[in-house]
């Protein structure tokens, strides 16, 4: 760990850093999918516009489909405009609220619309008298699900219901509906309630006073309810009953006693087939054409020049444009994966992505007329598409409008709408798949890279550790490098290291054995000289020659001593190899040695600080030999009259022996090499005896044989040197 901290920018880190560039891939994927979405969006735009164009083409040059009559302002004629309603209406809820915004398209009828009937003979000029201001109503006609819906809000100061016992239907407030059937026959119906009730419609004959001609009409249903200041009627009749003319008339009776109809307000002349107002509803012709185009997964609307919707097919909620199969999801049977996906991944993804909802309300289209730039443009003659984002759900809606032309004149426009949820969903699915795949690939790649980097750096660190461990503090070869058999560069490096170390080892070995070999080689000539001198001594007579022979012999003896010393270390090494260690008390051996040294060096004061037992595994003779060398060394360098102290203790898990003397400091640069073979720091004038620097080398050999360490250091508190060796204690 410390190594890792020491080198924070290791190969592993670098590789991980470099591999972080892989994160560009998901970004690219994301960009790609966005591009694709854009592409698809344009495609959808073209498709939608194409659909609009196709429809418009089908409707082109057919002005009859857009009956000119219907184009005037709605209230300019007696015609009734039928608004397409896009949701079911409830008839029995006592209220008109379910008509919602459509209510703003209701039309008002008042005294100007008074007509004369058989029941109020003032007519047909009654309207000009406008003697009764109290009666007026508002009307709205809509179409939903092949039925015509209508409501009337009637303002009437006196609501007079049909009395309980009365059979006649005209002596009270009532409502008349006139229509021309598809066969061209004028039919009239009367709704004459006995109170607020579920309406019961009668078909009437020529004269509605003729009770015999009354018959029940089941097709018309609805509710009559009373409101403050009047009443309201909400009714429905199937489109099958209807031709293309329709009218409503409200008969008002104000005097409960007289029960005479005082005024009639109607949408048109309800009793005259010719003058009955037209029903303006999307023509069946357009209907059929558009119906044929209706399976395009879009909402298609046809508007007239005023922007009023003539027809609407499909609803925008399900107009996704793109149909996506759910198959992909069903194939995944692994519920664990699904669990992870639903609970971990998707929440994560949808923090970024917006999930489109089909549960939105397109307010713009709630009414009976629509507007927008695209429509304006289309009605101006140029097809156009536009995107619109709904505020609340982030749903984008694609709208295309194409003009319908006839004789170079714009009759209306086809509007094709699709919401973009299909593409959005598709995009989201693609992104999910992309993210999943990339997540997987990234995880695998990251782990792979990390493992690879770890392996590489591990191997390099191994090699480094090996390289560091082959040479000890003194620069001696300790181990060899195990050559890697890997065929790559690191293996190569390892092998060449191993090779270098091997050759270095051979060279070191050659150097270390140099003295031994030299001494061996020199011994033969020395023997020749010595034996010759001895022979000479035996034969020569005369004082002079004897002196020279003696000197020569002294020289040869000294040379011999040198040779012996030179090979001592090698001999010791050979002996160490065959020696067996035994349990021994280090303190006892040191103690014995110190006793001996007191005899051997009577001139020096030896201070022993020994505390036993210090049990180690070792060979006492070698320990003694080691001590001989240390003491000899200490004695040699000690200042005269100064004590030499010997310390021996078990400290923690090591037996520690320290021999210190007062004397000159060690040269700093020699400290590490002091224990090497042939290293001596003796000044020249001290060389009374031959010194080869073998002594401390032997000390080190013995220490290493006991798996210990030896080091030399200068004393801190006085001029002197301490040599300390530490040998591991025996495990008890």
């Amino acid at each position: 760990m410390s190594r890792f901290l020491k080198n924070p920018f290791g190969i592993r880190f670098k590789l991980v850093f470099l591999s972080s560039f892989l994160l560009v891939i998901p970004w690219l994927g994301y960009q790609y999918i966005l591009e694709m979405e854009e592409y698809l969006r344009r495609g959808q735009e073209q498709t939608v516009l194409g659909t609009a164009r196709a429809l418009a083409t089908a409707l082109n040059e057919r002005p009859e489909l857009f009956d000119e009559g219907s184009y005037g302002p709605a209230r300019q004629s007696d015609d009734l405009y039928v608004y397409p309603v896009f949701y079911p209406l409830s008839l029995d809820d006592d209220t008109l609220v379910d008509w919602q915004d459509y209510q703003r398209y209701e039309l008002s009828y008042g005294k100007d619309d008074t007509i004369g009937t058989l029941l109020n003979p003032h007519s047909p000029f009654a309207r000009y008298y406008h003697y009764d201001d109290s009666l007026n109503f508002k009307l709205l006609v809509g179409e939903y699900n092949r039925s015509l819906y209508a409501y009337l809000k009637v303002v009437d100061d006196h609501v007079v219901y049909r009395s309980e016992e009365s059979l006649s239907i005209h002596r009270n407030d009532f409502l008349q509906i006139s229509l021309v059937t598809q066969e061209g026959e004028l039919k009239r119906y009367v709704i004459s309630p006995r109170g607020p009730e579920f309406i019961y419609a009668y078909a009437v004959g020529e004269d509605l006073r003729d009770l015999a001609s009354l018959s029940h009409e089941e097709g018309i249903s609805g509710q009559w309810y009373e409101v403050p200041g009047g009443y309201e009627v909400e009714l429905r009749l199937p489109l099958t009953m209807l031709g293309d003319q329709l009218g409503f008339a409200v008969y008002d009776v104000d005097d409960e006693v007289e029960r005479e109809v005082s005024s009639v307000v109607a949408t048109s002349d309800v009793n005259d087939r010719e003058r009955l107002g037209s029903l303006r509803r999307p023509t069946p012709e357009i209907d059929r054409i558009v119906e044929g185009m209706g399976h395009t997964n879009s909402r298609i609307q046809v508007v007239d020049r005023a922007g009023r919707i003539l027809l609407s097919v499909g609803d925008i909620q399900s107009a996704t444009g793109l149909v996506l199969s759910e198959q992909a999801y069903q194939e995944r049977v692994n519920k664990y994966w699904l669990f992870i996906e639903d609970n971990v991944l998707h929440p994560l993804y949808y923090r970024i992505l917006t999930k489109p909802s089909n549960d939105f309300i397109d307010e713009l289209y709630a009414g009976g007329t629509i507007e927008g730039q695209h429509i304006a443009s289309a009605l101006g003659g140029a097809p156009q598409t536009q995107f619109r984002t709904l505020e609340d759900t982030q749903t984008r809606i694609l709208e295309a409008a194409h003009p319908i032309l006839a004789d170079g004149e714009v009759l209306g426009a086809v509007i094709v709408d699709q919401n973009m949820n299909g593409i959005r969903t598709f995009r989201n699915q693609a992104l999910e798949t992309l993210f999943n795949t990339i997540l997987g690939v990234m995880v695998i790649i990251s782990f792979g890279l990390f493992a690879f980097a770890s392996r590489i750096s591990g191997r390099i660190r191994d090699l480094r550790n090996q390289a560091e461990s082959i040479i000890d503090d003194n620069g001696r070869l300790r181990n060899t490098i195990v050559a890697s058999r890997n065929s790559d560069e690191i293996g190569d490096l390892s092998r060449s290291f191993s090779n270098i170390v091997e050759r270095l080892g051979q060279y070191t070995n050659y150097l270390e054995n140099m003295s031994s070999r030299l001494s061996h080689e020199l011994r033969t000539p020395v023997t020749v000289v010595r034996s010759s001198l001895e022979n000479l001594g035996l034969v020569a007579h005369g004082k002079e020659s004897e002196i020279y022979i003696q000197r020569a012999e002294e020289g040869i003896n000294r040379l011999n001593l040198i040779l012996t010393n030179m090979s001592e270390a090698t001999r010791l090494e050979q002996m160490l190899q065959t020696s067996e260690k035994e349990r021994m008390d280090l303190a006892k051996v040191i103690n014995g040695c110190v006793e001996g040294y007191r005899l051997a060096y009577p001139d020096f004061e030896l201070v022993a600080d020994i505390e036993g037992p210090v049990m180690i595994e070792g060979v006492p003779e070698y320990i003694a030999q080691l001590m001989d060398k240390l003491i000899a060394n200490a004695v040699e360098f000690s200042y005269e009259g100064k004590p030499i102290s010997i310390f021996c203790r078990a400290i923690r898990d090591q037996g520690v022996v320290r021999v210190s003397n007062y004397g000159p400091f060690l040269p700093e640069e020699m400290k590490g090499r002091l224990f090497d073979s042939m290293i001596s720091v003796r000044p020249q004038e001290k060389q009374r005896q031959p010194h080869l620097g073998i002594g401390l080398h032997i000390a080190r050999l013995v220490t290493e044989f006991h798996h210990g360490q030896i080091r030399a250091e200068n004393l801190r508190d006085a001029e002197g040197v301490a040599i300390t060796l530490a040998i591991p204690l025996l495990d008890e």
Binding site: S531, N565, R571, M575, K588, V589, G596, A600, I631
Partner: protein, 238 residues
């Protein structure tokens, strides 16, 4: 009749120097430079004593082979290895081959001739009765200074001449510590301390082969060795 000594040594100068000295002392000396010549001669007639170098011309271990052949020809023929090889391994090998002594070439000529004389003396007295004045008795130990033999519990301990002189030096004054230097002088060899250590080790082993409980040679660390008369384990606690 003069005793015949064979010197097998490939270094002519050394060979002739040794031969000269020995001849001066009255021995009949034959010299050979290699194993083949020596064996050819030995096949005809054995010498009374053989001094052999280990490395002979191109044979690294020729001396060992020669020693083995000689020993197989005669059980009693004294054989001395005189070689430049001073390592423990060769010493042990040489002595195991049946050599009576193993000397390194740095031995001085007088020391060499003293050994030769000792060996001949030992040979001479083998078939003569032991004279009591030559006997040194220490507990179970009997030293025959005349024959250079040692008995422990009346069982002979096969020591080389060098080893005998060492034991003799220790036993002369039991309880006295003999330093390695002293032992070196007494046994007439010139080696370093660790060689003495291995000599002492070998002596101990030889005694232990005779008596497993032998514990008379005590190491006094830092000083040397001493002979313990009591069979107690020696220690030098203050």
């Amino acid at each position: 009749m003069a005793r015949r000594i064979a010197i097998v040594e490939d270094e002519a100068a050394i060979r002739e120097n040794y031969a000269d000295v020995l001849r001066k002392q009255g021995y009949e000396v034959q010299t050979y430079a290699n194993r083949k010549d020596a064996m050819r001669s030995f096949d005809l007639r054995l010498p009374n004593l053989a001094i052999i170098d280990i490395g002979l011309e191109n044979e690294i271990d020729g001396g060992f082979t020669l020693c083995q052949s000689l020993r197989s020809m005669s059980e009693t023929l004294p054989i001395i290895f005189l070689t430049a090889r001073d390592n423990d391994f060769d010493t042990v090998s040489g002595l195991r081959m049946g050599a009576d002594d193993y000397l390194t070439k740095d031995i001085s000529l007088p020391h060499l001739s003293a050994r030769i004389a000792a060996l001949f003396r030992r040979l001479d007295v083998l078939d003569q009765p032991t004279s009591p004045e030559n006997l040194l008795q220490r507990d179970k130990l009997t030293l025959d200074i005349g024959r250079l033999t040692i008995q422990w519990n009346n069982i002979p301990v096969p020591l080389t001449v060098t080893e005998f002189w060492m034991v003799h030096a220790l036993v002369k004054f039991p309880g006295h510590v003999k330093s390695r230097q002293v032992l070196m002088q007494e046994s007439k060899i010139f080696v370093d301390g660790s060689t003495i250590t291995s000599h002492v080790k070998r002596i101990r082993k030889k005694f232990i082969q005779v008596d497993e409980d032998f514990d008379c040679i005590e190491t006094v660390y830092g000083m040397g060795y001493r002979w313990n008369t009591q069979n107690t384990s020696g220690n030098t606690d203050q």
